[in-house]
């Protein structure tokens, strides 16, 4: 880690007092909110709110409300309308949940999710979520770094990519009766992206278990990429030597790529990515940041890559 000398620190890097005070206020609100939201059940969230956000958390940006986070979802397995998942996802049964792990690893097999999670510390992370449709949220997830689980499976040296599949079961996911997308939904990451400490498997939000419409029982959250990369309700993890084909890149290869890094300079062919609407805001006035504001942490993963070609 680089330790900065005092003259390295620009005055703009020092948190102004007003911001600092706002942060205190926020934490105060967080405690109040936490008390209401958890009502004594899941104490960790309240504790978490009391200790404030950590360095890897989004600072100074208010959380998107629980209601909006859980009623405005892109989860075509339950319908293509934004409110469809919150209405229809009750058919999903998040337990018991079996995860198939396969491919270039020493320990392939079928695992019960609860067995996989045993011994893993669940952390809270406040991340921005930027959808490719130019809206964004700030969400307090609960989860753990992918790297913790991946290292348990002992990938071989051939494992360069990891592929994820969503459950494919029309009984539980009625939206899969229509052929809107080729099922199951598939996503993937390069191994170094997957091992990055910001990439997490989320098991909850707002201090409770993931609601079905948000991808129960566990999903990916890769905050520097467009939301569609953060695949939900995962049942299969496959380690591969070659780059997987992700669903949206199959459906519309000129519009969605494998990397899908948030980038204001690379427009979607049908709309600009320069600005975003921070929900529930009315104006699309927020300037989108490179890698969704996580450039300092993840920029090195893409050094020397043409981000326009590898969109």
């Amino acid at each position: 880690m680089l330790i900065r000398k005092p003259d390295d620190i620009k005055s703009s890097d020092i948190t102004p007092e007003s911001t600092y005070i706002n942060r205190r206020k926020f934490i105060g609100r967080g405690v109040a909110f936490g008390a209401i939201a958890v009502a004594g059940s899941a104490a960790p969230w309240a504790v978490r709110a009391a200790t404030g956000r950590r360095d890897e958390d989004v600072q100074d940006e208010p959380l998107t409300s629980y209601e909006h986070v859980t009623t405005y979802n892109n989860f075509y397995e339950f319908g293509t309308g934004k409110e469809d998942p919150s209405r229809n996802a009750h058919t999903l049964r998040p337990r018991p949940w079996t995860v198939t792990v396969e491919g270039e690893i020493d320990k392939p097999g079928q695992y019960d999710l609860d067995d996989l999670l045993r011994g893993i510390t669940i952390e809270d992370r406040v991340y921005r979520l930027r959808c490719v449709e130019a809206w964004s949220m700030v969400i307090p997830w609960r989860g753990f770094p992918l790297s913790k689980l991946i290292s348990r499976f002992e990938p071989t040296s051939k494992a360069k990519y990891v592929e994820f599949h969503t459950l494919y079961d029309v009984e539980q996911m009625p939206g899969q009766r229509g052929r809107v997308l080729p099922w199951p939904y598939v996503e993937g990451l390069r191994m170094d992206e997957a091992m990055h400490p910001l990439a997490i498997f989320a098991t909850g939000l707002y201090g409770e278990d993931l609601p079905n419409q948000n991808g129960a029982p566990f999903r990916l959250v890769v905050p520097w990429k467009y939301g569609f990369k953060s695949i939900k309700s995962i049942v299969r993890i496959r380690f591969r030597a070659t780059q997987p084909q992700n669903t949206w890149a199959i459906v519309a290869p000129n519009e969605y790529g494998f990397y899908a890094n948030v980038n204001p300079e690379v427009d979607h062919p049908r709309w600009s990515q320069k600005r975003e609407r921070r929900l529930p805001g009315l104006f699309k006035r927020r300037k989108t940041q490179l890698f969704n504001g996580y450039a300092d942490q993840v920029g090195h993963l893409y050094a020397g890559m043409d981000l326009r070609r590898n969109f």
């Binding site: 998107t64 934004k82 609407r277 929900l279």
Partner: protein, 213 residues
């Protein structure tokens, strides 16, 4: 009450009020906070849907008259067409104000670079001359035949509207396809017309006169 009186006193006010129902529901939802996390997107989609629905209903007036023989329905066509245009204007204004906050350069870039905006904008602009010439005076000035010719543009506009919707959606094309099928069906009734050519020309003139209300 004579038929024309009935149309003026009851028919038109009732249809007018009915046409305001969609926008009233939107306003009610705004005040009750029922538009969800992304109210602007919701309003944009709803006004867009209603623009297309009103266009198709307007286009359905002539076929309905031919099918049923109810000449009176033509008298509501202008109002329906103007409502289509109004919903379209609201739809576009929301985009100008909330998506771009009057940033003309960004709007122009959208119109030039993005086909679904290009075709949507063009479709709305095509309705402008139709709205302007929807008055009695303009029918007289242009003459029934020319006026009718001009107003055939509504088909181009509706087709453009459907295309706009089709090019906008990410994967779920079901709704734009339904709109498209309705449009094709309405067009088909135009092509299938029993009777002689002369009668058709007569009908065209009658149409124009009738739509004066």
């Amino acid at each position: 009450m004579s038929l024309s009186k009935w149309v003026r006193r009851i028919g038109k006010p009732v249809i007018f009020a009915a046409c305001l129902v969609p926008v009233s529901l939107i306003v009610a939802d705004i005040f009750q906070g029922r538009l969800g996390a992304n109210p602007i997107e919701e309003i944009t989609h709803r006004t867009g849907d209603w623009t297309l629905i009103f266009l198709l209903v307007t286009l359905g007036v002539s076929p309905l008259r031919r099918l049923t023989g109810w000449g009176v329905v033509v008298q509501f066509r202008r109002m329906l067409g103007l409502f289509a245009f109004s919903y379209g204007l609201v739809h576009f204004s929301i985009y100008v104000v909330f998506d771009h906050f009057f940033d003309l350069a960004a709007i122009l870039e959208d119109i030039v670079k993005r086909p679904y905006v290009t075709v949507g904008f063009t479709s709305l602009m095509l309705l402008v001359p139709l709205a302007i010439t929807s008055t009695k005076g303009w029918v007289k000035r242009l003459g029934g035949r020319r006026w009718n010719r001009l107003h055939q543009l509504v088909y181009v506009s509706a087709a453009g509207g459907v295309l706009h919707y089709l090019w906008l959606v990410k994967a779920d094309t079901r709704r734009p396809i339904v709109f498209g099928l309705v449009l094709v069906a309405l067009l088909a009734t135009r092509l299938w017309r029993p009777g002689k050519r002369g009668r058709r020309a007569e009908a065209v003139v009658r149409d124009a006169k009738a739509s004066l209300g």
